[in-house]
Symmetry: C2
Subunit: 188 residues, 2 copies
Amino acid sequence: MKKGILFVVSGPSGCGKGTVLAQVLQDPNLYYSVSATTRSMREGEVDGVNYQFLDRAQFETLIENDGMLEHAEYCGNYYGTPRKPVEEHLAAGHHVVLEIDVVGAMHVKEKCPDAVLLFLMPPSIDVLKKRLVGRGTESPDVVEKRVAQAEREIQCAHQYDYAVVNDVLEDAVADVRAIIRAEECRTK
Amino acid sequence: MKKGILFVVSGPSGCGKGTVLAQVLQDPNLYYSVSATTRSMREGEVDGVNYQFLDRAQFETLIENDGMLEHAEYCGNYYGTPRKPVEEHLAAGHHVVLEIDVVGAMHVKEKCPDAVLLFLMPPSIDVLKKRLVGRGTESPDVVEKRVAQAEREIQCAHQYDYAVVNDVLEDAVADVRAIIRAEECRTK
């Protein structure tokens, strides 16, 4: 049984990561890793789908036992990637997709040097800004913060193995699929 | 203008390299590098298409002026890859495909560290042997020699960046196309 490949996907808010991944993940050989968190479940969320909801004691026990590939504390809540399901799926020959931020991606690369890192880019900062404004869900203040954050994140793209520009959705999806297929042919 | 990528393709005789490349090379953005040789032109061959036919003095002048990316002498004739057309096409943003043997590929990798090396594999030595016998053009003696040579070459596959198994033709073609597309997204 050939082991699966671990793909780590990052990209700034508004780059269309969710839309691209939703299409790519239609491939039944890809397993999307569900993050764990200690924040409370919101209405409509399902445990094990949106997040794996844990209490602080459970989360901290996992950290202590090296059960998290990466984790961070944000606004008083833990967020992280449980190691066990990732490793089980890889061992079963499935590829695993982690959707995490730049800092998390660097931690995963340290723990799993074979991981393939993929950065999803907006075509430009201007386009990103327009997309965030177009959503109409964020105040101008929040949009400004997201744009500044995106600029910082994009500067880390060179630390990734691949950078995919999401200008035309179908092209970006085809790029990600090509990367997965090509990585299956890597000799390493 | 983004520079093109240099793809070096090797694979044992009978692995279907020619058939796979013929399909992949339908992409107008790919330039197939024509080798130079000092052997005489055979009937039906066209200068600049099958080979660039040079005399020994011309070939040796190119070698002396570092005008060959790689070259070898075989049965008293030179064979090699002229550097200039390769570099011109790369500078113009075209990808270049070199179809050369394992030794030549290693020389190119030394001179062009950014080259992407792709090894085309038969599904198995048995299948390779059947394909060579099936051609009906080679004596059993030659088939044995080719099979032994293939076994030696396959042992070098791990020195390549990618290994594509040519079992089902369309899959192998799709693999090579995916590798080209993925490499376009490499951050390097």
